[in-house]
């Protein structure tokens, strides 16, 4: 992943010059948050996407939700939620999991509208997701397909933070202990309904605040 390489900001400037004017190019105008910056000085964008499956090549995004983390708090006026209008009918399984029916999905917006909106929000912010590989996988795929370049971003994965914390404490854990809702319960955070993109984004943002090692920590301590 690009973000792990040194000189990510060089890469950003190079990409920006290379790309034609498009939403990704506009996104790249804002500098990436500095790795040495303190978390409390940064803005994060907690993102959750609901998808029809796990494979970015075959599956599609059904809905997206975000909230911003600013001053280590979540101002809820930042809440953003979009249903995506599908190209083909939804399968029964996904309707069951996400409670999104064809009728609702039909009321959604095309991805061509939603993706630029998302990139605009992400500009200058750190992406925050639980099991971020899924979000990054889908966004990268979309950016490559549409804008002919990967998504260059800094990302924090709350699942990874939780795993590191458990390892540091020498606690034994199973895979399911790392699920968003089990971690929240473990940390005494309230129960939210799962599999709604906005609820999950908020749940992730709160989990992030609870998992932060301390208020003065630097971004590089929590990056993927």
């Amino acid at each position: 992943m690009w973000t792990r390489l040194p000189g990510a900001d060089l890469r950003r400037r190079w990409l920006r010059r290379r790309l034609p004017p498009n939403p990704l190019q506009a996104y790249l105008a804002a500098p990436l948050p500095a790795r040495r910056a303190r978390c409390r000085e940064l803005e994060f964008l907690a993102l959750d996407i609901e998808t029809s499956g796990l494979d970015p090549a075959r599956d599609r995004i059904l809905s997206l939700g975000t909230v911003v983390v600013r001053d280590l708090a979540v101002p809820l006026d930042s809440a953003w939620y979009r249903l995506v209008r599908p190209g083909r009918p939804l399968s029964g399984d996904n309707v069951r999991i996400h409670h999104i029916t064809d009728d609702q999905a039909a009321a959604g917006l095309p991805l061509s509208t939603v993706l630029p909106e998302l990139l605009e929000q992400l500009a200058g912010r750190v992406l925050l997701a639980h099991h971020a590989a899924l979000e990054l996988g889908f966004l990268n795929r979309l950016c490559r397909d549409w804008y002919d370049a990967p998504l260059l971003t800094r990302a924090v994965d709350t699942q990874l933070l939780a795993r590191r914390r458990l390892q540091r404490r020498g606690q034994a854990f199973r895979g399911r202990d790392l699920r968003l809702y089990n971690l929240r319960a473990e940390l005494g955070l309230p129960r939210y309904r799962a599999h709604h993109a906005l609820s999950d984004a908020l749940a992730t943002a709160e989990l992030f605040l609870a998992l932060l090692p301390d208020a003065d920590c630097r971004l590089r301590e929590v990056l993927c």
């Binding site: 917006l109 940390l187 955070l189 309230p190 709604h196 906005l198 709160e206 609870a210």
Partner: protein, 615 residues
Amino acid sequence: MEVELLEIRDFLADHAPFDVLSPDLLEVLPHQLVVRYLRRGTAFPPADATAPALYILRSGAVELRNSDGTLSDKLGEGDLYAGLCEADSSVSGVTVEDSLLYLLDCRALASLREASAAFDRQFAADRAERLRRAAAPRPGAGIDVLSLKAADLRHREPVTLDADMTIRQAAQLMSAQRVSSVLVTEGERLAGLITDSDLRHRCLARGLSPDSPARSIMTPDPVTIDGDELLAEALLCMTRMQVHHLPVLIQGRLAGMLTLSDLARHQGSSPVLLATDIQRADGIEALAQICRRLPELQLQLGLANTRPSYIGAAIASITDALTRRLLELAESRLGPAPVPYVWAAGGSQGRQEQTVHSDQDHALIISDDLRDTDREYFAELARFVSDGLNACGFPYCPGNAMASNPQWCQPLQVWHGYFNDWIERPQPKALMHASIFFDLRAIHGEPVLLQSLQEQVLARTRANRIFIAHLTAAALQHRPPLGFFRNFVFIHDGEHDATLDLKRRGLLPIVDLARIYALSEGIDAVNTRERLEAAIATGALGIDLGSSLLDALEFIAGLRIRHQARCLREGHSPDNYLPPDTLSGLERNHLKDAFRLIQSLQATLENRYQAGRFS
């Protein structure tokens, strides 16, 4: 596209004071909040707060302390801290668990209060205002008929008859007007009352000529009621006086007639009927049978939204009737009393604040003419009544504060000695006993015996600062809780109760305060309401604090009535232990207001009499 923050909206919709907001406002409100996470041990409100805000605790726990370091409150899920939006915010605290909080900017709070009158009311900064609402009848729980005025239920012009007319004319008038009673007048003055049963018993059965004057069969100078009195008062009057007809006077002029059947039409008759049945019962078996209807009566009165103070008085008036009947039965068995006496009820019956299944507290005050040979008579009498009350569902007093205890069955002179002792040498233990006997009310016999005792007692207590100081110290044993934390009652640092003892931690502190005011001001009332009203009248208790205390009393008594109704419906005997999870958020807040008020009045008295105790 619509962005719904369902989790947060649903949470707010479940919690006071947000639960009164309209769906529209509830939809918008979550978007105005900011979520914060404070680790355990963080100062609260957090030092880095940007703008003053209302804090809503979503999870975790916060302890708040007064400026002197004493614990003032402990917040759990759903609790609010509005201190930063109010003028005084001398409180500071710390999170004692990792806590998730929702912040609402004080300016957003202000506009929300402007947008919703119902919300604004719940937020009323004025505690007195909140308590007044808490004490008001519950909307939607049915109209409390008994809180209507006697004048409201007057259906027709009074049917009157001159005292010089004949019995026949009275009967003809009653038939023509289709009434069961007629008022007998002498000029403008109400002279008497004739009912159907008077025609039967006093005329026909005795073979009296129908041409005799009406005055010969009337009940002279009947009990009347003022049109401004509440129907509850009329009901208590009928129960006490054993009458079924009450002429209604408005500004002293005869205005109509209130009958038991008027009240029956409005389901308000049962206490009178119960008292009438008690009056007619011929033995303990029959009385016990009748008293089994008492819980049902309390339940009915509660459901009818009757004011708690009147329910307490109604239950007491029935216990009074029962006590009187038992004394009559005892006297018919043992013969008439050798010397005059008065049977006095103490405790909740004495104060007319009784609920079903309360313990008996009573005393016998006997004329000083008592001879040693008569003692056995009164011992028998007291035993009979006490056993009878027990058989009727009023258990023996665990502290044995009963006339059947020889210590409390004594001639007046001995009683004077007791009270002197309590007042001059107030020991904490003696005072606990004494509190029952400072609330005595004459039930049967010669009330003048009790009256003379009470007059002297009040004259002594009134001037006695040291006694009042000790009484205050004893009363401070009954402290209200600090509040609620989660589903526990938060007593003080490190102590939680699973249930709220409504009597010991809610009502008794107010009862004790009222007794202190009464004894220090020489107020002769024993009912807590009346004592407080009198203390307001003498200026000993400020009118604002006093009215709030009356509201707090009514509110807590109402909670007890509803809790006991729930016990009765669920088929177990009513108690005073309220589980906090049955309280709404609003009720919790009202209770907290009441607790704070009691605490501050207790603190005032404590300060006032601190010096007296040691001087």
